[in-house]
Amino acid sequence: MSNEFEYDAGSYVGSDRVPGGPTEEGSGLRREVRGYLLGLALAVVLTIASFWAVETHAIYRPGAAVALLVLAVAQMGIHLVFFLHITTDPDNANNSLALAFGALIVCLVVFGSLWVMSHLNHNMVPLHQLMQMQS
């Protein structure tokens, strides 16, 4: 089995028999199962870390929310790589670029909304003052 094939043999849903005979195919399957198991293990570790971060005083408490955000982004990355097989391979470039654009829009929507709304909130006249002005 050539190196070129190794490089491309990430999980193919519905791959036909690969060239190279049954023993090598068996090892390919084992490698793929190992990939999923590694992804599962990493996801479990990050999930436990997130639930632990809520309670613990081991991390600086005011940083807990940021720690949870970082852990969430890390776990999403693990899912993308190990379960969805989005990688930096050249033949995955279209998928990664689409993902990058999606991530950009998500950040714009979420942080943009929070930013704009907090400013509006800050500049708004409190309701009871507004009532006084009208009367």
Partner: protein
């Protein structure tokens, strides 16, 4: 041998990257790309648009998080044990779905059906837990009409639940189609899309359990 005839016959690019690369290298030469690549890419674009829709719900929730209108706050409502069990169900379900794709790759009807059944049962368990949580909230007078915070919470998490329900219907269809029609190339394309959908739902759940449930139950003085 003409490629188009081969495509119609059995789609030879399946699992044979050398052939696929010959047709379309991904560097602007050759092509058209094999159907499996085109189908997967198109569905990936759809999933990203779905994620962008969820991001709008996340933004709404984040903006309205403190607008409880005197009603119960996130910290008073959320039960993290329930969230942890839901998370475990969905993560295991996603893993089982991965095992199903490997079984499809091996053309094993038995293991495909077993893995998909496990995927579905775990997804169903997740839905039951979520429904119990929602009905518990409503019974405590914390329904979606109580406050802006609860409206946005039910919209965001409920929308994910609706996706999971739709995924379960799709999963049942895939099991029936694999059983009745075998590992036909078009059925495998559908299954590729399904597995992408199911894994993407788990990614959205990661954001929900971290940013809605865990951040929501932090003491108020720790929140920005």
């Amino acid at each position: 041998m003409s490629t188009s005839a081969l495509h119609l016959a059995q789609d030879p690019s399946f699992g044979s990257p050398q052939l696929a690369r010959h047709e379309a290298s991904g560097h602007g030469e050759g092509g058209p790309a094999p159907k499996r690549i085109v189908v997967g890419y198109g569905f990936w674009i759809f999933l990203l648009s779905d994620v962008i829709m969820f991001s709008a719900f996340f933004a709404t929730y984040a903006v309205l998080f403190k607008s409880t209108a005197g009603g119960p706050s996130a910290r008073e409502l959320f039960d993290l044990h329930n969230t942890a069990t839901e998370t475990a169900c969905l993560l295991a379900s996603s893993f089982a779905c991965g095992m199903a794709s490997l079984a499809v790759g091996q053309r094993s009807q038995k293991w495909t059906q077993v893995a998909l059944l496990v995927t579905g049962l775990l997804g169903f368990a997740f839905l039951v837990l979520e429904a119990r949580e929602f009905s518990g909230f409503v019974a405590r007078g914390a329904g979606p009409g109580r406050s802006a915070f609860l409206s946005s919470f039910f919209t965001l998490v409920g929308c994910h639940g609706v996706h999971v329900s739709a995924g379960l219907l799709w999963l049942g269809t895939m099991m029936a189609q694999f059983y009745a029609k075998g590992f036909r190339v078009d059925i495998r394309h559908r299954f590729l899309c399904f597995s992408l959908f199911w894994h993407a739902l788990d990614i959205i759940w990661v954001a929900i359990f971290s940013l809605v449930y865990l951040v929501g139950t932090l003491p108020p003085e720790l929140l920005p």
